[in-house]
Symmetry: none
Subunit: 172 residues, 2 copies
């Protein structure tokens, strides 16, 4: 966002200044060129006494108008475009109140639903026995879950598992 603003500050005036400068340049150059042309023609007229004044002015006007038309056309058609695409890639390592499971890390870990369930209860301080009661399964089942859990998470203790899980955003 800030970059865009800064770009606007710097580039747009720069561009318009340049345009203005060139427009003036064109006018100046053209004006003087035409004046020169007229003088030239005048000089030639004196030399050859052929030309009609009105015709030269007419032709000059035509030339001027059509040159202007050409420039206008070109300006309309070829528009200088400076395009800046800023892709803001936000990486949230956030652990604020609204908890959302870190899918990426969860997939990487390869935990099953049940194992995550056990992990959550573990993090809340429940013992294996309490978890077993809560989930209506045997203590041995919970032991199996915890074992596989530790293996998958590459930890040795429940406290480590909880710490790692919290750090990776697997649990609140």
């Amino acid at each position: 966002m800030e970059i865009l603003n800064e770009k606007a500050k710097i580039n747009l005036p720069d561009m318009s200044t340049r345009n203005f400068f060139f427009k003036n340049k064109i006018i100046l150059v053209y004006g003087s060129s035409l004046a020169l042309l007229l003088f030239l023609l005048k000089w030639l007229e004196l030399r050859f006494v052929i030309f009609d004044h009105a015709l030269e002015v007419y032709i000059g006007a035509i030339a001027l108008v059509f040159t202007g038309l050409g420039i206008w056309l070109a300006l309309k058609l070829i528009k200088p475009t400076i395009k800046t695409i800023i892709v803001e890639k936000e990486i949230y390592v956030n652990n604020s109140i609204p908890f959302s499971l870190n899918e990426k890390e969860f997939d990487k870990m390869g935990l099953s639903k049940r194992e995550l369930e056990v992990l959550n209860l573990m993090a809340e301080g429940y013992s294996n026995g309490e978890i077993a009661t809560r989930l209506f399964v045997s203590l041995n089942t919970i032991k199996t879950h915890t074992s596989k859990l530790f293996e998958k998470m590459d930890v040795k203790r429940r406290t480590q598992a909880v710490e790692k899980a919290k750090r990776l955003g697997l649990i609140p």
Copy 2:
């Protein structure tokens, strides 16, 4: 920031060089154009004498030539710098809000410095043995600490202690 610098590096010297180039170019082009025009006029003049109704053609030619000139000029002068900058900005949302111990809860709990130290290591997943090694004391000492810790915190397990401590802001 880098983007702006890069722009400065590329565009500014480019711009001045171009300006200088065009200043000369304009003079050169105009000079030759006018010369050509004069020759054209001279040539057409001869034709004009012969073909009466060639005036329209003459004017048309003039218009065409100057329109082309205008377009050419505009194209040369206003060079479309189509620059596409794709910036990938990575924004890390800070979760490491500098931890500050909740003095109130800490006092209420009545934990000693050493106990808090043990609690912290416990929260990091260390076993009593590892904590003992880390603090250069015996395992029994750590056991004593943890026992008193649990008593003071009114919990039964280390996981509970960690959970409660985190919840109360005693540890990060």
